[in-house]
């Protein structure tokens, strides 16, 4: 499968990149990390209303903006590069789940509310694997019950979707906050740019929106993986670039540290990591856009990107020496994001195993 970005996609990337750079300089990121909410609502509204990014990758007939997964990947990559804290991936999860529904009357108003930033939506995932089918929630009589751990942007969301298996299949349920018996406990994490919350449902009123097939559930999962992989390669590339620049500039022993061959070779290795992870993430997005079964590639992209990102983060700190270990230096913000990306939606080992499962299925 051959793939290259179109001229339009490159222009789209430029627009998104400029927006991210403008809205997410390091002092802003640090302010948001220190704050309660985890994002700037004004920026989020601009992203949704002016740039129309929230339901970007969903087809128009499913109530989205009609772009494909390639554009989704582009947005994620630029967000990742700039470490931009917005509840974007949670919205993507929600719109992807909604897009699986056939019933336009149910689907489209919710989709519209999300893409217009009137509702902030998320989808409950299994905290360890990222599987969208919740194993801990139960649904009955227009309510759901149970405690979901580590829900992405769970504290900010006022439209919580959950997929719960029942006799008919995988039921997609919606809870609109505030609601009876609904309790939110924000979790503090080392990566303040990505927020989680524990959500408790105590016979909380919920609407069963429809039923998803196996394939549809998998598609939601794979979309999340591909999105995250693209985000990670954006972050990894930024760390590579900034570290190369640092190595060119920083002088020790009378010469730039980038002139030491051991450093040069490690940065060359890191470039290989990042390039390979980048093609993996881009190919997975392209295959998703083409409607192919991407489970193998999605898992492949997830662990390849994660290993590259963590390696970039480690090297970025190491090559800066003591300076790289300070709070003041921004490198650790990306290190924290790399760590949180490594364990979110399943560890690299989990996805190597899943890749083999899918290949031998």
């Amino acid at each position: 499968m051959d793939f290259a970005f179109t001229e339009e996609q490159n222009q789209f990337r430029d627009v998104v990149a400029r927006f991210c750079r403008d809205k997410s300089p390091s002092p802003t990121v640090r302010k948001i990390i220190a704050g309660e909410r985890g994002f700037d609502p004004e920026v989020w509204q601009q992203m949704c209303r002016q740039l129309g990014l929230a339901a970007l990758h969903v087809t128009e007939q499913s109530g989205g903006a009609g772009f494909g997964a390639v554009e989704l990947g582009i947005v994620m990559e630029e967000l990742g590069r700039n470490l931009m804290p917005v509840p974007y991936l949670s919205s993507v999860l929600a719109t992807t789940a909604l897009a699986q529904l056939q019933d336009a009357e149910t689907r489209d108003p919710l989709m519209g509310a999300i893409s217009g930033a009137e509702r902030l939506a998320t989808l409950v995932l299994d905290p360890r694997s990222g599987d969208p089918v919740s194993r801990v929630l139960t649904a009955a009589d227009h309510t759901i019950a149970g405690t979901a751990g580590a829900v992405l942007d769970g504290a900010s969301a006022d439209l919580v979707l959950a997929i719960v298996a029942d006799a008919e299949g995988y039921g997609l349920h919606a809870v609109t906050a505030p609601a009876d018996g609904y309790r939110v406990r924000p979790l503090r994490t080392m990566d303040g740019t990505r927020r989680f919350a524990e959500l408790r449902f105590d016979a909380t009123p919920a609407m069963r929106l429809g039923t998803l097939t196996d394939t549809q559930v998998k598609r939601v999962y794979d979309t999340a993986l591909v999105a995250l992989a693209n985000e990670m390669v954006g972050g990894a590339r930024m760390l590579l670039d900034s570290t190369v620049e640092y190595a060119q500039m920083r002088v020790q022993f009378g010469r730039p540290i980038g002139s030491f061959q051991a450093i040069k070779h490690r940065l060359a290795d890191l470039l290989v990591d990042v390039e390979l992870a980048t093609v993996a993430a881009h190919q997975a997005a392209a295959a998703l856009a083409a409607g192919e079964d991407v489970s193998v590639n999605a898992s492949l992209a997830k662990f390849t990107a994660s290993d590259a990102y963590m390696n970039a983060a480690r090297e970025a700190i190491q090559l800066r020496g003591g300076i790289g270990f300070t709070w003041e230096n921004d490198t650790h913000l990306w290190y924290r994001r790399a760590k949180s990306s490594e364990v979110f939606l399943g560890t690299p080992a989990f996805h190597r195993e899943r890749m083999i499962q899918e290949l031998t299925a």
């Binding site: 499968m1 190369v244 980038g258 061959q261 060359a268 470039l271 093609v279 492949l300 190597r352 890749m355």
Partner: protein
């Protein structure tokens, strides 16, 4: 496609082929017709067995050949490197003298660049050519020469001036291999294959006319050869396109290919044979071992990413070094995974070997991936200096070459 179909060139070559192509000709007789008509190498100049066509037009010609299954000129391997270099740097006399033998395949060629003392450092060659009247006397040793044991000619880089800096004292020659001053020995690799030669020169003779380019311009000429080599110009095709066709010419062509390909049978194993991993894991039951599955996934992912990277055409120029490093990673990961899958069985050879010796050959061949065609270390230098724009290594080999430390 329809455009190419009705292109005047297409019509012209089609008519010519209809009149001339005959699968029962001998390979050489057929290629003589190609040389005479210019259709064999249509992009070569009209004066030298070609028709002066553009690359795009030449592709149309090639498509017509393929359509009716007509065999083309001899191109692959050192022959192709020699002709490409001659076309760019050779004198008219040299072109006249050598291109026909190359095109028809009458003459076989070898490349005489690497030396025992200059592996990564090609420009550090110490094989010498000393002027003696109207000829050059060559002394020294080359190594890693494919096909030298049956080549008629060689393209040779030798040092003609020891007082100049190392890149400036080299000259580029064409040398007849069948002479008393040249001894060719086979060179066996650690995997048991003998794909290469060592070539020893003791007062071997080069005619003065066989200097290519100017005296002392050998490095510039060699760079042309190397750039064609790196871009895969010399890659040998398998001839699968003629599968099932019958005729004397196909038999002779198959033999030509077999000889040319003989040194390369282990190259797929060198790359690691990731294609065999799942099959072998199922066969041995290792597919049920979770830690083996991790190794397989790691190797397959690297292979897939490496293939994607290459397919996206990102692998040209210095980025080719990224592809090369990726290939080394694939080979290493595949070696690990095959070892984990086969366990002690990986060691066995002969009738007890898994997959008829293929697994053992993988384990003994992958180390070449990160060495052949420029070591990983050289690739990392290229990437860090040309892509990442980090400072170049300080040079310790400037000044007159005779004063440069060497082994």
């Amino acid at each position: 496609m329809s455009d190419a179909d009705t292109h005047p060139i297409a019509l012209e070559v089609r008519a010519w082929l209809e009149a001339n192509w005959d699968p029962d000709l001998s390979l050489v007789a057929w290629r003589d017709r190609l040389a005479e008509s210019g259709w064999g190498q249509p992009a070569w100049p009209k004066e030298f067995y070609g028709r002066g066509l553009s690359a795009r037009e030449a592709a149309i010609v090639q498509a017509e050949f393929a359509r009716i299954g007509a065999v083309g000129p001899a191109t692959a391997g050192p022959r192709g490197l020699a002709s490409a270099t001659l076309l760019e740097h050779g004198s008219d006399a040299q072109k006249k003298k050598y291109l026909l033998g190359i095109l028809t395949g009458r003459d076989s060629w070898c490349q005489l660049f690497s030396e025992p003392g200059s592996g990564s450092d090609l420009a550090g060659a110490t094989t010498r050519a000393d002027r003696d009247g109207d000829r050059w006397i060559v002394n020294g040793q080359k190594v890693w020469n494919t096909s030298a044991h049956h080549a008629d000619y060689g393209i040779l880089v030798a040092r003609t001036d020891w007082d100049l800096p190392k890149h400036q004292g080299l000259s580029y020659f064409l040398i007849r291999m069948d002479q008393p001053g040249i001894e060719v020995r086979q060179l066996k690799q650690m995997n048991g294959h003998a794909s290469f030669n060592e070539v020893f020169f003791t007062d071997a003779v080069v005619e003065a006319d066989d200097l290519v380019g100017e005296l002392g311009q050998g490095w510039q000429v060699a760079l042309t050869t190397l750039s064609y080599e790196r871009s895969g110009f010399s890659r040998i095709r398998g001839g699968e396109q003629f599968h099932g066709r019958r005729g004397r010419i196909y038999d002779e062509y198959a033999r030509e290919l077999q000889i040319a390909n003989e040194p390369y049978t282990w190259y797929p194993q060198r790359a690691g044979r990731t294609d065999l991993l799942l099959e072998r894991a199922r066969e041995t039951g290792a597919i049920d071992d979770p830690s083996v599955r991790q190794e397989i996934a790691a190797a397959l992912a690297l292979q897939q990413c490496s293939a994607w990277f290459a397919a996206r055409g990102l692998a040209r120029g210095p980025a080719g070094s990224i592809s090369k490093l990726a290939a080394s990673r694939v080979a290493r990961a595949a070696n690990r995974a095959h070892t984990a899958i086969s366990g002690i069985d990986a060691l066995f050879e002969g009738e007890d070997s898994p997959l008829d010796g293929i697994i053992g050959e993988i384990l003994l061949s992958t180390p070449a991936t990160s060495i052949a065609g420029g070591t990983d270390e050289i690739q990392k230098n290229i990437i860090s200096e040309r892509i990442l724009e980090l400072p170049k290594e300080t040079r310790f080999d400037g000044g007159p070459f005779k004063d440069v430390p060497r082994n």
